[in-house]
């Protein structure tokens, strides 16, 4: 919130669209603005009435550079829009940078998403430091319902909930790296970095960065699903394979490789396998282990075929381990298995568990 938790004192807020962008049809701008306001009215008792003339609480317009409020825009990119917290005069007013290109989809800056963020300010929300929240200050395109739990908690603490709530599906808060019960979805190396997938986020650990960096999967790879099941790197081929459901994607560096997604069954897995829990490439053998429920498969990277004699039982072949795995990594002869909030350090040569750690110890917790 802004200092002193400023908010509209009346739940009936008026708005007026003062001018339009030529990037979109007028009706598309009207729809984006109305839909953006509806996002907030769905979760609060607020109602928004459109005015066609005169002074409204929220005056909406497009302008370039200095546009009348001594708070200039900066040309293409950089600053996209700004809005003033509730109050008289300029309070609540919302301005979009006309030097940006605005769109209805992801081809340019999505007007609906930016407007929803700005109306959050116009209603009294300041910026969130949760990278998954709509009120995070950095633009990120995402489909679906735009609000996260953090946004809803913020607005409802000012205005309360909607007395006739519509069913909404807010995005969960970003996972906290030091939550003692934290589990991982997938772990892989990527050219010397470690990438840890959890929900719709990933952490990036770089040997020269003391703190992990948390980012939305969609903001780096818009076409990869929000939920990653497993991932592994084959450094010889300089490729990272990412699994989600029955599909897999390939990365070369941070770039997606053309020709993907492919079906996981192309690897030789039976059609009954619908999801891979964990994957890890063993550099010493050239084999990739694919963990599926209580069993695992061995894929020969050199021949591109599944080894015979599999699947085998995880419990039998990795004594001391749980019978299921969420994620796996391999470093210097040790396999690191992650299951729920526990991490097992397993010696591949000694065939035994050497250490048991917290899952998030890898995140400096």
């Amino acid at each position: 919130h802004f200092p002193r938790d400023i908010k509209w004192q009346n739940n009936n807020v008026t708005f007026r669209i003062v001018n339009y962008t030529p990037d979109l049809k007028k009706s598309d701008v009207d729809r984006a603005i109305r839909n953006a306001l509806n996002v907030w009215s769905d979760v609060t008792p607020l109602t928004f009435k459109k005015l066609h003339a005169g002074i409204a609480d929220i005056m909406i317009g497009f302008g370039t550079k200095e546009h009348g409020d001594f708070n200039p825009f900066d040309g293409p990119d950089g600053l996209l829009a700004h809005a003033y917290p509730p109050g008289n005069g300029i309070g609540g007013d919302t301005h979009f940078d006309e030097d940006e290109h605005w769109s209805k989809d992801s081809t340019a800056y999505n007007l609906f998403l930016v407007a929803t963020h700005e109306f959050g300010h116009a209603l009294g929300l300041s910026h969130s430091s949760d990278p998954g929240a709509l009120m995070y200050p950095i633009y990120n395109y995402a489909r679906g319902y735009p609000l996260a739990e953090d946004d809803i908690e913020g607005i409802q603490s000012l205005y309360g909930p909607n007395p006739n709530p519509r069913k909404v599906k807010p995005k969960p808060d970003a996972p906290n790296k030091c939550d003692p019960m934290l589990s991982f979805d997938a772990v892989t190396e990527l050219r010397g970095e470690t990438i840890i997938f959890k929900d719709r986020f990933y952490w990036r650990l770089h040997p020269q960065m003391p703190e992990p960096e948390q980012t939305l999967i969609k903001s780096t790879w818009p076409t990869i699903p929000n939920k990653v099941d497993a991932a592994y790197e084959n450094p010889e081929k300089d490729v990272v394979i990412i699994f989600s459901g029955i599909r897999m994607w390939a990365l070369n560096g941070y770039n997606l490789v053309e020709g993907y997604p492919k079906y996981i069954h192309k690897l030789g897995l039976p059609k009954t396998v619908r999801e891979i829990d964990a994957a890890v490439y063993i550099r010493d053998t050239g084999k990739t282990l694919l963990f599926v429920e209580e069993e695992y498969w061995s894929y020969d990277e050199n021949t591109g075929t599944m080894d015979s004699g599999y699947p085998r039982s995880i419990e039998d072949d990795f004594p001391g381990m749980d019978d299921e795995v969420d994620a796996a990594a391999y470093h210097y002869g040790y396999l690191y298995f992650f299951h729920e909030h526990v991490q097992y350090e397993y010696s591949y040569s000694s065939r035994k568990v050497m250490r048991i750690l917290r899952t998030n110890s890898i995140l400096n917790c």
Binding site: F2, L79, A81, H82, A83, V114, H117, I138, Q214
Partner: protein, 79 residues
């Protein structure tokens, strides 16, 4: 290869960013060494974005300063 941005360019970018979003005062900054005010503001920004708080203009901090964003200050006074 493209030439890397010079330190001066980076510093100007950072000053502009910190003035706009973190209320960095104008006219107080030394030309060679980061002033206390600038360091403090960089730290505030790094803390908000959960970057490593160093007070220095490292690559991650500069990368974030270049991203498309909303124009409302992240912190600071509302007047």
């Amino acid at each position: 290869l493209p030439l890397p941005a010079t330190d001066t360019d980076n510093r100007l970018l950072a000053e502009k960013y910190l003035r706009r979003y973190y209320g960095l005062p104008t006219g107080l900054l030394g030309s060679r060494k980061s002033s206390d005010a600038m360091q403090t503001k960089i730290k505030e920004m790094q803390s908000f974005f959960k970057l490593k708080v160093t007070g220095k203009l490292d690559d991650n901090t500069l990368e974030l300063m270049e991203m498309a964003r909303c124009g409302v200050p992240d912190i600071g006074e509302y007047n």
